[in-house]
C-alpha cells in the first residue's frame, strides 16, 4: 500500500479540517523541527513519529527524527527511570544517574540541534537540553508516561533539566507537576490510514485468526499491549476467569516488546503461569508485530480490554474505539480521556470490575454497539494523527507569542 498523503485524510476527517491545517501551516512559515527519542522500533511513540514526521514535512515544516544511542547499561537504567516515574519507589544507585548523564553527554556531542524547535520525547534523552543562554531555538520536552505518582528521587533529579526547556507537554493534567515553564496537553494519536487501523477484508481477518489457531466459536475478549506489569496482563486473565463463570468466551493476549524493554520475557513467564494451559486463553508473543494482524485481532474481537494500572495514554484504546469496538479500560493515565464511562466505553478499577463489565457487554450487545459508535466519534474528534499535526502547528505559533492567551492571525 502506498504511504498516505494529507490529501488521503480528507475522506476520513473532512476536507475542511485538512484545509485548515494548510492555513495554519501558512502562518507558521518555513520552520524546522527535530524529534528525538530513544528507540526506532516498538511502542506508541514510534508509531506516531513514523506518521507525524512525513506529514509535517508535507505541510512545509521540515521535520527530522533522530534516535539516541546507548548500550544495554543505559537502557536498563532508563527502563528503571521509566518505572520510577510511573511510581516504582525503589531507589536507584548514584552510578545509575552518572551513567545516564554520560550517555546523554555522548549523544549531545554527536548530534546537532540547528532546527527551530527541538522536541525531546520521554526521559531517556531529557538531559540533552542545552543551557538557555547557549541556544537560539526552542526546546520542548514531551512526556508520554504516567507521571501521576513519580518516584521523587528520579523526578527531583530530572526536574532541573526539564525546567530548562521552553515548555513541557503531557498527555493528561494528572501527570502535570507544578513547573516554572509552560505546559501543554497533547493527546497522542492514531493514524486511521495506517495498516494497523485501516479497513480490512473479512477474509484477511479470518485467515489471521486461523494462522494463530484461534477458533471463532465464541466471543473473543482481547488485550493488545506490551508484556509489562503496568498493563496488568495477569489481572486480565483473572478477570476473564471470573467472567467466564457466567459467559462463555475466549481470551486473546497479544503483545510485542520494545527494543528498550529488558523486562518483557520475565512478565511473559508470569502470564503463562497464570493461564495454566487453559485452552480458552491464547497468549501470543510477537517479537515483531505485523500491524495488519494487530488490526485483524482488534476487528475480530467482541470486546477490547486495556486493564492498565499505570498508563501513559494507551493508544490501543483509540485504535479499538476507531474500529467501533466496545472497550473496557483501567481508569488510569490517559484512558479516561478516551473513555467517558458509560458513553464511549467502560472504566474499571479492579479485576472484579473488569469481569463485571465483560459480562455486561457480552450480555447487552446494543449497549456494546452504542459505546463503539460513540467511541469512534470521540477518536475522530480528538485522537487522530491530523489533530497531532494541528497541535504541533499551534505549538510553533504559541511559542512565538509567549504569555498570550489569544493569538489573532490575519
Amino acid at each position: 500500500m502506498n504511504i498516505p498523503t494529507l490529501s488521503d485524510y480528507k475522506s476520513v476527517v473532512g476536507r475542511d479540517d485538512i484545509e485548515e491545517l494548510y492555513i495554519l501551516a501558512s502562518h507558521v512559515g518555513n520552520r524546522s523541527i527535530k524529534m528525538v527519542n530513544s528507540t526506532a522500533t516498538g511502542g506508541g511513540v514510534v508509531e506516531m513519529l513514523h506518521r507525524v514526521v512525513p506529514l509535517l514535512n508535507e505541510l512545509g515544516v521540515e521535520t527530522k527524527w533522530e534516535v539516541i544511542k546507548g548500550g544495554s547499561d543505559f537502557f536498563d537504567i532508563t527502563k528503571a527511570f521509566h518505572n520510577a516515574l510511573q511510581g516504582n519507589e525503589e531507589a536507584l544507585p548514584r552510578e545509575a544517574f552518572n551513567t545516564y548523564l554520560a550517555y546523554n553527554e555522548m549523544n549531545s556531542q554527536e548530534m546537532d540541534f540547528d532546527e527551530d524547535l527541538i522536541v525531546i520525547h520521554d526521559p531517556q534523552p531529557a538531559a540533552l537540553i542545552q543551557l538557555p543562554l547557549h541556544r537560539k531555538n526552542k526546546w520542548v520536552w514531551r512526556c508520554h508516561i504516567d507521571m501521576s505518582h513519580p518516584n521523587q528521587q528520579v523526578w527531583e533529579f530530572l526536574r532541573p533539566y526539564i525546567e530548562q526547556y521552553d515548555a513541557a507537554i503531557f498527555s493528561s493534567p494528572l501527570f502535570s507537576p507544578e513547573l516554572s515553564i509552560p505546559q501543554y496537553r497533547f493527546y497522542p494519536a492514531i493514524d486511521p490510514l495506517a495498516d494497523k487501523n485501516r479497513d480490512l477484508d473479512v477474509t484477511y481477518i479470518n485467515s489471521t485468526l486461523e494462522k494463530y489457531k484461534i477458533p471463532r466459536d465464541k466471543p473473543i475478549i482481547t488485550q493488545i499491549s506490551r508484556y509489562d506489569p503496568w498493563k496488568d496482563p495477569v489481572g486480565v486473565i483473572q478477570a476473564f476467569k471470573i467472567a467466564r463463570k457466567n459467559v462463555d468466551c475466549r481470551l486473546l493476549l497479544v503483545g510485542d516488546k520494545a527494543a528498550d524493554d529488558p523486562e518483557a520475557e520475565a512478565i511473559l513467564t508470569k502470564v503463562k503461569e497464570e493461564a495454566k494451559d487453559d485452552p480458552d486463553i491464547h497468549i501470543i508473543f510477537l517479537t515483531h508485530s505485523i500491524p495488519t494482524e494487530i488490526n485483524a485481532f482488534q476487528r475480530a474481537s467482541d470486546i477490547i480490554l486495556q486493564k492498565s494500572i499505570r498508563e501513559g495514554f494507551a493508544l490501543t484504546v483509540s485504535e479499538a474505539l476507531w474500529k467501533y469496538r466496545p472497550v473496557i479500560g483501567g481508569s488510569v493515565g490517559g484512558i479516561p480521556a478516551q473513555i467517558i464511562h458509560g458513553f464511549t466505553g467502560m472504566l474499571v478499577h479492579s479485576v472484579e470490575g473488569a469481569s463485571l463489565q465483560i459480562r455486561t457487554l457480552l450480555s447487552q450487545p446494543e449497549l456494546a454497539k452504542r459505546l463503539g459508535e460513540n467511541g469512534h466519534q470521540r477518536v475522530k474528534d480528538e485522537f487522530l494523527i491530523t489533530k497531532s499535526l494541528k497541535r504541533y502547528l499551534l505549538l510553533l505559533l504559541a511559542l512565538d507569542h509567549p504569555g498570550q492567551d489569544k493569538i489573532s492571525l490575519t
Binding site: E19, P173, F343, N374, R378, K406
Partner: protein, 224 residues
C-alpha cells in the same frame, strides 16, 4: 443594498495548557477560581461545549461534572450545569457568578466544604488562535451554500466563541444576517437556538433549516 457586506469565515483552534495546580475540596476550588486567569474560566466553561457534545455525553461544563463525580454534591453541580453561557458576554462576569455560587453554597452547606474529592480538579488553561479561512458569503444563498463546508471549529468560532470577543450577547452569524442583510426575523430565530443543548453539528443543521425555510418562502411567494 445590505447584501454587499461580505462575510469572511474565520476559524479558531486552541492549545490546552496545564497548570500543575489542583483542588481537592470546595475551599481549594474557590481559591483556584478566584486566582486563575480568565482564559482558564473560559476553558472550563465555554470550551466544554465542543469537548464531549458530539458523543452525546451530557456534559455541561468541567465544574459541574467534577462536583458531581468527585464530590457528589448534586445540587451544587446542577447550579453550575444550569448556568446559561449565552447570558454572559464577558468572562469576568461569568467568573464572578461562579465564585458567588460557591460562596452561597458555602453559607448554606458548611459541611460540604469539609469533604475531600475522590479525584482532584485539575486547573487548565488555553491559548486560542483565531485565523481567517478562504470561505466567503456574499448573501444569504451563498452563506447557506458555504455553511455545510465550514469546519466545526469555524462554526464554534462564529456561533459561540464570537460572543466573548464582541462582548455582546450575540453571535456573528445572526448579527451579520440582521445588520448586513436586514433579515431581523431570521436573525432572531437563529439567536434562539440553545447552545447549551445541541451538538455543533445539530446547531449547523438548525441554522441550515432556518435559512432553507426562509429561502423557500421567498421562492414560493406569488409575484404581484
Amino acid at each position: 443594498m445590505a447584501e454587499e457586506y461580505v462575510f469572511q469565515f474565520s476559524s479558531s483552534a486552541y492549545l490546552e495548557k496545564l497548570s500543575g495546580k489542583q483542588a481537592c475540596n470546595l475551599d481549594e476550588l474557590l481559591k483556584l477560581i478566584e486566582s486563575c486567569t480568565l482564559s482558564s474560566i473560559s476553558y472550563h466553561t465555554f470550551s466544554a461545549l465542543r469537548k464531549f457534545r458530539e458523543v452525546h455525553a451530557p456534559y455541561t461544563n468541567d465544574l459541574a461534572v467534577w462536583i458531581s463525580r468527585n464530590l457528589h454534591e448534586e445540587s451544587l453541580s446542577e447550579k453550575f450545569g444550569a448556568i446559561n453561557l449565552t447570558e454572559y458576554n464577558t468572562i469576568e462576569s461569568l467568573k464572578t457568578r461562579i465564585v458567588d455560587i460557591i460562596k452561597d453554597f458555602r453559607d448554606q452547606n458548611p459541611p460540604a466544604f469539609q469533604k475531600k474529592a475522590d479525584e482532584p480538579f485539575y486547573l487548565c488553561d488555553v491559548t486560542r488562535i483565531v485565523y481567517l479561512t478562504d470561505k466567503f458569503a456574499y448573501n444569504l444563498k451563498s452563506f447557506r451554500e458555504v455553511l455545510d463546508s465550514i469546519s466545526i471549529n469555524s462554526l464554534y468560532f462564529h456561533f459561540i466563541e464570537s460572543r466573548l470577543y464582541n462582548q455582546l450577547h450575540l453571535d456573528d452569524i445572526s448579527t451579520w444576517i440582521e445588520q448586513s442583510l436586514g433579515l431581523n426575523k431570521l436573525a432572531q430565530s437563529i439567536r434562539n437556538i440553545d447552545i447549551n443543548v445541541y451538538t455543533l453539528n445539530e446547531i449547523r443543521a438548525k441554522i441550515a433549516q432556518l435559512i432553507d425555510e426562509h429561502l423557500n418562502k421567498l421562492n414560493t411567494k406569488p409575484t404581484v
